[in-house]
């Protein structure tokens, strides 16, 4: 028997070590997001809170610059190396849902009776952009909108009253902009107004709203044919370019150069009016916001308003086991439990139904332009849905560059864009 003693002792030791390892092993949840400093800081706070309460299932939070992030996410999903949960922009939903790249969200795991019950807890339509074939694929944390930020100090210096004289229409911007623009010789020293020029997604947000204000759409109802070169599209492109070509109150080259944070020209006083999202209030900070005023998104016809809205939502990796998916739902529940917290830290309105009635929100409605953003959200429409949205964005962006930077005829440029879009849709 002695000769087996060593073997038996070794076996017991190995078993003991393995079971200790197994019991002490933690299940880590990895969460990826795009870069947005106030948003990322709040997410980190939420993760720290979760980790303190759930030491055996800690969350690991990572964030990346927006444009490469979504490409990284696609590559990671294809190589089965993506995070367990990740934040997505609404425009990419069709690209992912049509390829089964997202796990369906289980409302019952989030504490709701059903999807209808969950919908009832959100602003009407807030979940619609994340539903595909009757299933929810992401839980929104941000409902954002574009509004017009004006530098009230510049307005006063130009003899304008920012409370009364702010622009309501695109033509107003051109007219008021003439008083705000500052020239140094033949060069523009301070722009009166400009659109962000740095990214095709931003171009699409603006252009999709503009074409709708003129009564058109970028794609037809079937989503299979480009209609951006319609009369409405040409009018929209002319409006997009008129501040550079006609009113001469914009120098688009400045915005092209100011990348990463496109609204950065506003706090640096290189520009007096700029259209940016609700989150810019937090990004600028209270000191900069003292000189700013936020007013509704300009319209072609203020009686028929259309604004561009978008959202970010948390999705679950379908490649992880169901038990871990349930755990991820617990983390989502934790992350989305405090709409007021989201708003206070990020300045993005939260799309929950009772959001405006939450204690303390009333003050923000007066001081942080929440009412303006909520009005614009009410008039808002998401970008037209297509699995080829990034190619469509690219084609519209190039068309805009040809017109705004190169002075090309809008119709000719949009014809070229439609040719590219139709080719992409046909592939």
């Amino acid at each position: 028997m002695k000769r087996y003693l060593a073997a038996r002792l070794s076996f017991c030791l190995v078993t003991l070590l393995m079971s200790t390892f197994a019991f002490s092993q933690k299940t880590t949840i990895i969460w990826w997001e795009h870069s947005n400093p106030p948003h990322n800081n709040y997410s980190k706070e939420l993760v720290a809170d979760w980790n303190a309460k759930n030491p055996n299932t800690p969350a690991q939070y990572e964030f990346f610059a927006m444009t490469p992030y979504f490409k990284k996410l696609t590559a990671a999903l294809s190589t089965r190396s993506a995070a367990d949960m990740f934040t997505l922009i609404d425009t990419l939903m069709p690209s992912y849902t049509t390829k089964n790249a997202l796990a369906p969200i289980r409302p019952e795991w989030l504490g709701y009776k059903s999807l209808d019950d969950m919908k009832a807890h959100y602003v009407p339509g807030a979940l619609d952009g994340y539903i595909y074939q009757g299933k929810l694929y992401a839980v929104p944390v941000v409902a954002s909108v574009f509004s017009l930020y004006i530098n009230a100090k510049h307005f006063r210096e130009a003899g304008l009253d920012p409370e009364k004289d702010y622009p309501r229409t695109w033509e107003d911007i051109g007219r008021i902009g003439k008083k705000l623009v500052k020239m140094k010789g033949n060069k523009m020293d301070r722009e009166a107004f400009d659109f962000a020029m740095h990214s095709s997604t931003w171009t699409m947000w603006y252009f999709n709203a503009l074409i709708r204000q003129y009564g058109g759409e970028i794609l037809d109802a079937s989503g299979k044919k480009c209609t951006a070169n319609s009369n409405a599209g040409v009018s929209a492109m002319k409006a997009r370019a008129m501040f550079v070509l006609d009113y001469k109150i914009s120098d688009p080259t400045v915005s092209v150069g100011t990348n990463a944070l496109p609204a950065d020209d506003l706090p640096k006083e290189r520009i007096s009016m700029f259209i940016t999202h609700a989150g810019s209030v937090a990004q600028f900070g209270p000191e900069v916001m003292k000189d700013m005023k936020v007013v509704p998104f300009p319209q072609v016809n203020p009686q028929k308003p259309v604004t561009p809205i978008y959202g970010f939502a948390i999705a679950v990796n379908p490649q992880i086991p169901e038990a871990k998916q349930k755990l991820v739902h617990d983390l989502i529940k934790h992350v989305t439990k405090d709409p007021k917290g989201w708003y206070e830290k990020t300045s993005y309105p939260y799309p929950s139904k009772n959001f405006l009635e939450l204690p303390g929100i009333g003050e923000a409605r007066k001081t942080r332009y929440l009412d303006v953003f909520m009005t614009d959200i009410t008039n808002g429409r998401f970008i037209q849905r297509s699995p080829q949205i990034l190619e469509i964005n690219g084609a519209i962006h190039r068309a805009m560059e040809r017109v705004v930077l190169g002075g090309e005829n809008p119709k000719k440029s949009l014809d070229q864009a439609c040719k590219e879009i139709n080719a992409a849709l046909a592939r």
Partner: protein
């Protein structure tokens, strides 16, 4: 706890086993000295060979295979024959990217060949603070590429340092990265600035390898500076020159990060080089098969260029 061999027969069996084991471990000694050297060489090369096969040849072959498939990164690939190549051929953006790459490649490389040689000639002369200058001009290559791209982006901003300097000298502001005429030349300038130090060092090494005796003999014969440069420096530096040509062209055709960070291929695609087109087609538009086909085209371009230049290089060696 094993039993010890007792009988002489058992002892002999154990000894036999040991002898066979010894023979097995020492088998290379039965090889000739030449074969043993070969074997040692193979063992030294194996790690590099594994690296080449796993990280270079396999992805290359896989990309080639994928170029015949339709693959959106998430659904299983389906065979598409030559459809991806046809689609590329019909895609005006691919043609534009191809020519942007060609312009960038020659724009950067040709300037590098001459400017780096000029710099090396300058630094090869005896002058005060030569070591310090050599160290200083090597800085650009020691900097992280992403940092370089970001810094240049700020410098090229309409209100950035480059325009501030120009305005100081009374030159009008130039919109470096936002007009079709200036965006690519602006990126080319960065490529040249970053490439010169590396190629300058290579040239410098080549210059220092030329024996001084040749110059002394030529000077005794009355040859001037220009004649010495044409008849001694250039012929003896030819292999280095051709090496620099190959490496600079290859590194320029693969440029990716600067267009990505600084212009995202714009304005109107005028800085969308082929590697950026491949990245965008694959990872933004989910058309990995088409991206792989474009990679094959890029590979053919690079491979063809390398073959031509290597042939030239070999001729240079012979001369």
């Amino acid at each position: 706890m094993g039993r010890k061999p007792g009988s002489p027969k058992e002892k002999a069996a154990v000894a036999g086993r040991f002898a066979r084991l010894w023979q097995w471990t020492a088998w290379p000694s039965s090889l000739s000295h030449r074969n043993r050297l070969c074997l040692a060489g193979v063992f030294f090369v194996v790690p590099a060979l594994i690296h080449l096969v796993v990280f270079k040849f396999y992805p290359l072959l896989e990309a080639f295979r994928l170029s015949f498939y339709r693959y959106d990164l998430m659904s299983p690939p389906t065979f598409a024959g030559l459809a991806n190549y046809k689609s590329l051929w019909e895609n005006p953006l691919f043609h534009q990217s191809f020519w942007v790459s060609v312009k960038y490649m020659f724009g950067v490389s040709i300037a590098e060949w001459f400017l780096a040689l000029g710099l090396a000639l300058l630094l090869n002369r005896a002058m005060a603070g030569r070591s310090l200058i050599r160290l200083a001009y090597f800085f650009p290559i020691a900097m992280s590429q992403i940092v370089v791209a970001m810094v240049w982006k700020f410098m090229y901003h309409p209100h950035g340092l480059v325009n501030i300097i120009l305005e100081f000298f009374g030159v009008d502001r130039i919109n470096w990265l936002s007009t079709e005429e200036t965006a690519l030349p602006s990126l080319i300038a960065i490529g040249i600035w970053r490439g010169i130090p590396l190629f300058g060092v290579i040239y410098l090494a080549g210059l220092q390898a030329i024996p001084k005796d040749y110059y002394e003999a030529a000077m005794i014969d009355g040859a001037g500076v220009f004649q010495r440069f044409i008849h001694i420096t250039i012929p003896l530096l030819l292999p280095t020159i051709l090496f620099v040509m190959v490496i600079s062209l290859l590194s320029a055709v693969k440029v990716f990060l600067n267009p990505l960070v600084m212009t995202e291929g714009g304005p109107n695609g005028t800085t969308r080089v082929l590697p950026y087109f491949i990245y965008e087609t694959g990872f933004a538009y989910f058309r990995m098969g088409e991206a792989a086909a474009a990679s094959v085209v890029l590979f053919v371009l690079v491979f063809g260029l390398t073959l031509i230049l290597l042939r030239l290089l070999r001729r240079g060696d012979v001369q």
